[in-house]
């Protein structure tokens, strides 16, 4: 069994094209009200670069490569963790109005509690 992934030439271009198209369509459906969490969320998604950083660091052979690989992982991890933290915080804030005002009050309390916890 051969598990080598060969992403060469046109195969790579097809992957890029389809992914770009999928991104365009999926993001195009996101309402403007969510554009900030969307941006920080997509920001989080490109944090996957940390995986590439780990690969580069594990294969490093010189001190220079190790140093740069270390920074790549450091920055990539920051990108992923930070992007997730802010997106999750923002999305938790979006609440809908309920018929009962008391209920809404409860929501507000839950939200404040959530912020305090963080």
């Amino acid at each position: 069994m051969n598990l080598e992934i060969a992403m060469t030439g046109f195969v790579a271009l097809y992957v890029f094209m389809l992914a770009g198209f999928a991104g365009w369509v999926i993001i195009g459906n996101v309402p403007a009200i969510l554009h900030t969490p969307l941006m920080s969320g997509s920001n989080f998604v490109h944090g996957i670069v940390v995986v590439g950083g780990l690969y580069a660091l594990f294969n490093a052979t010189t001190s220079l490569e190790q140093a740069i690989g270390f920074f790549a992982v450091l920055l990539g991890a920051g990108n992923a963790a930070g992007g997730y933290a802010v997106t999750d915080r923002m999305l938790a804030m979006f609440t809908t109005s309920d018929a009962k005002p008391n209920h809404r009050h409860g929501h507000a309390h839950a939200r404040v509690h959530h912020l305090k916890k963080s």
């Binding site: 598990l3 992934i5 992957v15 992914a19 770009g20 991104g23 365009w24 999926i26 993001i27 309402p31 403007a32 009200i33 554009h35 900030t36 969490p37 941006m39 920080s40 969320g41 997509s42 920001n43 989080f44 998604v45 490109h46 996957i48 670069v49 995986v51 590439g52 950083g53 780990l54 690969y55 660091l57 594990f58 294969n59 490093a60 052979t61 010189t62 490569e65 740069i68 790549a72 992982v73 450091l74 990539g76 991890a77 990108n79 992923a80 963790a81 930070g82 997730y84 933290a85 802010v86 997106t87 915080r89 923002m90 999305l91 804030m93 979006f94 609440t95 809908t96 109005s97 963080s118």
Partner: protein, 482 residues
């Protein structure tokens, strides 16, 4: 055979991650499902990161002796980078979100640039195509890193002025061309060319130095009002860089995630530019401040002041009120007070809606987040296209901290620098109240014709203080309003 199982697990985890990213982003199409969307994507990220530790079983013989050190370095970097960013992300104020996102963007770009650097210094790439893609990804990543750093400094107020020098565009173009030439030299060296004056590693250093310099030079002249476009562009850049390095590392998960984000960033960039009626090139390469100003005296009438409590009582007895918040509201930290006032109006059976302009705030959608933070339910928040026809039938339009986005000159005055920009039709409401610090021009320095129109009255004062007075006025009317 020893590497077969790790490869299988890594491949499966990355495939899951790519699927969960797309699925998570898909769930962002509604505020109700969006919180689960980011969690789904988070699961994908954790799976991919954990699985990538299995790479240790697949490393080349040359890297084996260093493996323990490398693993220790990896764990340390993950803990420090992830921990610090997580802590910062949990603490950051919602008004500071644009600069935070700029930092995370820069970090991703820097990581992509770092991967490119390791591949280049270690001569890991095979063939001219792979090397060219590595260089391209490294270039875009490095530009995103230094450009985002400048964007952060501007948004955070560390750099207050936009640095503009005559002939700057030529200098920028020269740096860009020099970077590409150095990339060509590195490429030529790998193909066996000789007589290149310097060693390849030196050229690689110069290449990254120039790329970083270009990011700085490109971002410095761009004004604060254009930051929504800049942040979107760097989001797209980092995505693109990650996608390209994914190709170099033969990792489809990086390719897909990077390209999806690249497309997303591009879409948001175009939306923002459209909302300002400017092309992306116009934002990047021209200086907004130098646009011709509308001539003074072209506007008839005068600004009419009104008392905050009078305006509040008028709104209390109105049938429908539309509120147009701008960044000035957030600058005065008055969102909470505004929602307190709105709750009083709603209790008095007034229909209240918020109208949001796409460029309200320093990044796309920031005003929506700031209102959500104050507790405003999202079904009260409407975007430009959905609400613009409602102003005609609204009794009152309350403009707080917004200026250019309600300037009717954008519709009528061809000499205005903002002519053609889509605006909120606040001027079409029966009565307009504008809460403003004092007489004066907006962020862009353009005179606002709305302030002089017969149906508009000005409430002068700090937004927070004005809203406190408005709340008192409505409460003073008695139980019916409370």
């Amino acid at each position: 055979m020893l590497t077969l199982l790790p490869q299988l697990v890594i491949g499966a985890a990355d495939l899951c991650a790519a699927f969960l990213f797309l699925f998570g982003l898909k769930r962002m199409s509604s505020p109700a499902t969006a919180p689960s969307g980011i969690r789904v994507a988070g699961v994908g990220m954790i799976a991919a990161v954990l699985a990538s530790f299995l790479y240790v079983f697949t490393v080349d013989a040359a890297a084996r002796p260093h493996l323990l050190v490398n693993i220790a370095l990896a764990v340390t970097a993950l803990a420090i980078g992830g921990g610090a960013a997580w802590f910062a992300g949990r603490k950051v104020a919602m008004t500071a979100m644009p600069q935070m996102v700029a930092i995370y963007n820069g970090m991703g770009g820097g990581a992509a640039g770092g991967i490119a650097a390791v591949e280049l210094f270690g001569s890991h790439t095979h063939g001219a195509t792979q090397l060219a893609v590595t260089l391209l990804g490294g270039l875009i990543g490095a530009v995103s890193l230094s450009g985002s750093a400048i964007a952060w400094a501007k948004l955070d107020g560390v750099i207050k002025k936009s640095l503009r020098v005559k002939g700057q565009q030529y200098a920028n173009a020269a740096v860009m061309i020099a970077t590409l030439v150095v990339a060509g030299v590195i490429l030529a060296a790998s193909l066996g060319a000789s007589g290149l004056l310097l060693t390849t590693p030196t050229w690689i250093w110069i290449f990254f130095g120039l790329a970083l310099l270009f990011g700085v030079l490109m971002t410095l002249p761009i004004g604060g009002a254009d930051m929504p476009v800049v942040i979107s562009i760097y989001n797209a850049f980092t995505g693109l860089a990650v996608g390209l390095e994914g190709f170099v590392l033969q990792n489809p998960a990086l390719m897909i995630a990077g390209m999806v984000v690249g497309a997303a960033g591009l879409l948001l960039t175009l939306l923002m530019a459209k909302a300002m009626n400017r092309s992306v090139a116009n934002v990047l390469f021209t200086n907004f401040g130098t646009a011709p100003k509308a001539k003074a005296g072209a506007i008839q009438g005068e600004e009419k002041p009104v008392d905050a409590s009078d305006a509040a009582i008028k709104m209390r007895y109105a049938t429908s009120v539309i509120i147009v918040p701008g960044y000035g509201l957030a600058a005065a930290r008055a969102q909470q007070k505004l929602y307190e006032f709105v709750k009083l109006l709603v209790a008095a059976k007034v229909s209240v809606k918020f109208a949001i302009h796409p460029v309200a705030g320093r990044m796309p959608g920031q005003m929506d987040v700031l209102l959500a933070e104050a507790g405003v339910p999202y079904d009260m928040i409407f975007q430009l296209d959905d609400i613009n026809d409602d102003f005609v039938t609204a009794d009152v339009a309350l403009v707080i901290g917004a200026n250019d986005v309600v300037n009717p000159a954008a519709r009528t005055d061809k000499s205005s620098p903002i002519f053609g920009m889509p605006i909120l039709n606040a001027d079409k409401a029966k009565q307009v109240y504008v809460v403003k610090r004092g007489q004066g021009k907006g962020y862009s320095g353009i005179v606002n014709a709305l302030f002089y129109s017969p149906n508009c009255e000005m409430v002068y004062g700090d937004a927070q203080a004005v809203l406190v007075k408005m709340i008192e006025a409505v409460r003073g009317l008695g139980a019916a309003a409370a």
